[in-house]
Assembly symmetry: D2
Homo-oligomer: 357 residues x 4
């Protein structure tokens, strides 16, 4: 089940150490300007090998558009994007080919499929998320057409939390930090973990602005449910919060309710979604990433024949997946909202009249 | 989009003050014992009007099986279940028919559909969840066939947290409390809010045991993503955590990793899911409910013509939706796992050989 | 898999001799006038027990709307419709409960599910099509809003073919005959078969007018593919033709091509669909029904234990399923086109601009 | 909507004159031997430029496997296949870029999307079917594992019908003729049309053997409905028949019924499907292709501004699309049956017990 979305539907393919990764984006409305350089810019944001806060695997991650675009515009046909892999080092994985790295998907893929591509985690590798980001760029392009903006940044690392949300600043930060005043401490947490052969968890904030009221398809494809499913589906995400999130469970109704005056909502505890439908206020999401399971410390595990073994991991890994995860979360949120934008189009007779007269 | 699941697929219908609510369950494997009294028992757990901790609306919630069962066994045909509404008091809603109750779905349904059934919240009412619980009972029956057990209870109310998870005790508690020692304080929080005309949030814990390793359909229908989507889709849920959840974002990899020995996993920070696939360990989920938006205090809001108005709510409401939400969360988790059980059936040539020889 | 359609999505339930049959219609745009009497009129067209050309089973087929309609308008919530069964004679089926009626679905349901509801064919009975017609009525109501008209009638019975297509006349004919001059011969074919304890096949013509150009979702949900799938899925249908149909395979391109002048298409061999998308011309479909497999002549078959047995069928049956099949084909075509109308809404940036500004 | 199937799901991309065409096959069970040369052999069957009975466009149609296969076996991950285009002659289309070729999809794509890739028909070109054949090869490989065989050949051209079905002979025939004695006349019909600058229609027969009884997902994903939808969706197909097909509408029940003795079905008028589920007998399908709309005779049409124009087509075209259509029909039928094989896996408790114990 490698497709995401219903009307704006992305299918991804490819493994960490295979020939290529890519995606097919189906349902892109015809007439959208599709810009190779815009897609490339988005993909470059999560490109590995650029800073010391990410894996040192060097990939140019050059995106090629194979179909669905003619004279610069989407045609309504599926848009296929491909990125060829260049810097696989499968030899790094020889020593772990028959054992299960702790907290990786090695064990579960083996249990499910009876076979696994051990090279770099195969399909379960975060490398696949480059395809998500490429698809997300097309979604963002569509959303921009309607002034919808999807912003993201790193909120916390190892429990060190931002106190302000400066999405503009985050764009320029090597770790996409939202709070310039916390950035150094957060960076130190990443590098500290890295130097210790360890890793560290983090939290990403996603804010979606200018979403028109009315998006979301209750009862079983609510906007918050779709966003949560999209985000928890990212490698390493263990919790998602909308609006007040976990804190809402501690509040009184009188504290958490969003009253209105003639100008609209006075507060936004809801995080822009009520009854699974957008209110028009900012959609606020917190996405909690676990620490990278790839640590270089000695660990105990099982091998494929069920024996207990000790090992030390090699290879090149992100010390904190939340950092590049910020870009991926942005892409997945964009895909989810784009899908909702299309799904909602036929929800009333009035809308249909605007189209069919 | 009122269907949930792909192979084990439930479609619900009905409004709070309409004639009936119900569901059609498609994909139930043929040959399952379907037991009206078992379904009824599950539905009775969330029945309103029974304790002082829930709404006083009196509904017998009698479930009738309309199809799909012959001589006590499922036939493979869709199973339709219906519950007729009995105790609607639509007059309670006359005074709010043209205004938007704060933090309810009134505003968003109106914006999306241009029309809304204001009586008791119409389709957005938690009353619809009775249909989910009925469907969930059929899912649970299927899961039991394979020893999978879905347990749930109230973990916290208003920030008062359980220190132990006693799912047996929860079954007997009026508020489904998991920790007998915290129950009184939690009850007091509910009744205190109720007496003040207010409401309070809470957190439900769901534990799923004996799930075989291998369930989950990566990359875009992972087990955790499906569960999170199912649970966030419940009325009032604002956050979902799996395993270490929010806390994982604060940990080091060396703390969060689940190492293995020859007996399997030594710890379960993952909460039973790695790479979106079940590990065979317990699946642990925390589901955070906001406080009921229906409070009786004076509130400010907008009406349909955009004017600011003050009002006080009437009607019968749960002071803490997390309490009965515990039953609904259990049902939704059951539906999600049942779907995964069926989806996984064809995932290997070996499985197919067992079936087709 | 008891759902049809993607955006305009119908899920049906119920067996021939169960408590009730019905459907849940999801995706009906909000603001559509839903008229119980209109639905009832459509359902009455296929009601059994009315003429000597159909089964003598007496059912009032009273449709009840359970949800999704408020003050006469669709709300965007799922519309559930239910018809309780009244005139089951399960005793008619006692003598065939362990044998497989030739050319019925008894054998295949038993092989697939290992169990079958033998009473009147259970889920495989044409009785279920009453639910399709009820759902189809809602689809037709939607289509009428946009001037799209779905017409049908009996084209041929036992090879006796109409020479003209008079859909107005068909409405008044007991056998929905399209050609008044052929009607008597067609009726005689039905009654002749009936008196001989036999049955006879027939062909239904469906014409859909005023479909806007542009409906259909290539490449794998083309308009003709969706229509063909919808129609072949009706009980007893063995072939579907669009436009020139079978005859197209005998023609030269110069004969079959539809040239255009400034007024549009000069001919319509295509039957209103090119490349899987509507041209704006009439959509023409021929739907070929096999003779009712329920004949009263002595037949040889197998029983559940694999023995060869002779038997004679009892019960009440249509001598020619194509007659009432005409109503069902109309409903299914309506559902397919309604779905396409909604799916197409988001296909261009221009359409989205009309909705979202 | 460029995906086909539910569990065995293929998504295709690419245009006639774009960079590449290809597909992503999702849901292939893990552990299937995937053989590049087998896929290539299938694709070569429909390769253009080989005989005088097909278009002279020269494409090597070299298939490259990008993902989803490790050490010769499917891993459960999506299998992406790509074919780069080599022999586009877009200049052939300069003179028709602003007019609508009669009976092509030019008009409808323009009406739907407001834009079209006129080069070789863009997405609507039969060139895309190479991707279907590549995907179909993987499906066939899966089916062979369970002894299911999908055979096809040309039954009729221009009304000249085969009298025998020799699928072995068809493999060696340049036009995939099923009847050696009719082959010359059929070839003459193709070449005669070609020399006259015209084209001719034809009919393909598909026979699927050794399908286990029980495949098909009633009521709305019946085996025959899925097959018919798959086949009518192929470029140029105007009618599909199963079993007796059109002829069934002319028969009596006593003639059309398939009686049984202890050895099973005595006849197979049903064409291997009853109630939408396979009987275990051969599945017989006739697929009727219209004549290629690309004829070189002078034709009248409209241009994009609505004016009437005369023109003569250039380019390289198949004089009879049914010939290579035989290969495509085989692939689509294989995909449909593979999907049904997987979907059926979870249909009974007994099947699940075989898997989960």
């Amino acid at each position: 089940m490698n497709s995401f979305g219903i009307k704006f539907r992305v299918t991804t393919f490819g493994e960490s150490h295979g020939d290529a990764i890519g995606c097919v984006i189906d349902g892109v409305p015809a007439g959208l300007e599709i810009d190779g350089s815009y897609i490339q810019d988005e993909v470059d944001k999560r490109k590995p090998g650029v800073t010391k806060f990410a894996t040192q695997r060097k990939e140019s991650d050059k995106v090629r558009i194979l179909s669905g675009v003619f004279e610069g515009l989407s045609t309504g046909a599926p848009i296929a994007l491909i990125i060829f892999n260049e810097n696989q080092k499968s030899s790094d994985y020889e020593n772990i080919k028959s054992l299960f790295r702790p907290s990786h998907a090695d064990f579960t893929y083996f249990k499910k499929y009876g076979i696994r591509d051990y090279r770099g985690g195969g399909r379960s590798s975060a490398r696949e998320t480059a395809a998500r980001v490429a698809a997300g760029a097309v979604a963002k392009k569509l959303l921009k057409k309607f002034n919808i903006e999807v912003k993201s940044g790193v909120f916390a690392i190892g429990g060190i939390e931002a106190e302000k949300l400066d999405f503009e600043y985050a764009k320029t930060s090597e770790i996409f930090a939202l709070d310039r005043l916390k950035e150094e401490a957060q960076k130190a947490a990443v590098l500290g973990a890295k130097e210790a052969g360890d890793s560290v968890g983090g939290c990403v904030f996603v804010k979606i602005s200018n979403v028109p009221a009315g998006l979301g398809e209750p009862l079983y494809n609510k906007l918050d449910a779709a966003l949560a499913g999209a985000l928890i589906g990212i490698n390493g995400v263990k919790a998602v919060e909308t609006g007040e999130g976990v804190n809402a469970s501690k509040l009184k109704g009188s504290q958490n309710n969003d009253q209105m005056d003639r100008n609209g909502f006075i507060s936004n505890h809801a995080g822009g979604i009520l009854g699974g439908i957008s209110t028009g206020e900012d959609i606020d999401l917190k996405v909690h990433f676990k620490p990278t399971p790839s640590v270089f410390l000695k660990q105990q595990t099982q091998n494929e024949t069920g024996e207990s073994v000790e090992f030390s991991l090699k290879g090149r890994h992100d010390p904190c997946i939340a950092v590049r995860g910020s870009v991926v979360a942005n892409a997945m949120a964009s895909l989810a909202v784009a899908d909702m934008l299309l799904l909602n189009a036929s929800c009333t007779i009035n809308n249909l009249k605007k189209i069919y007269g």
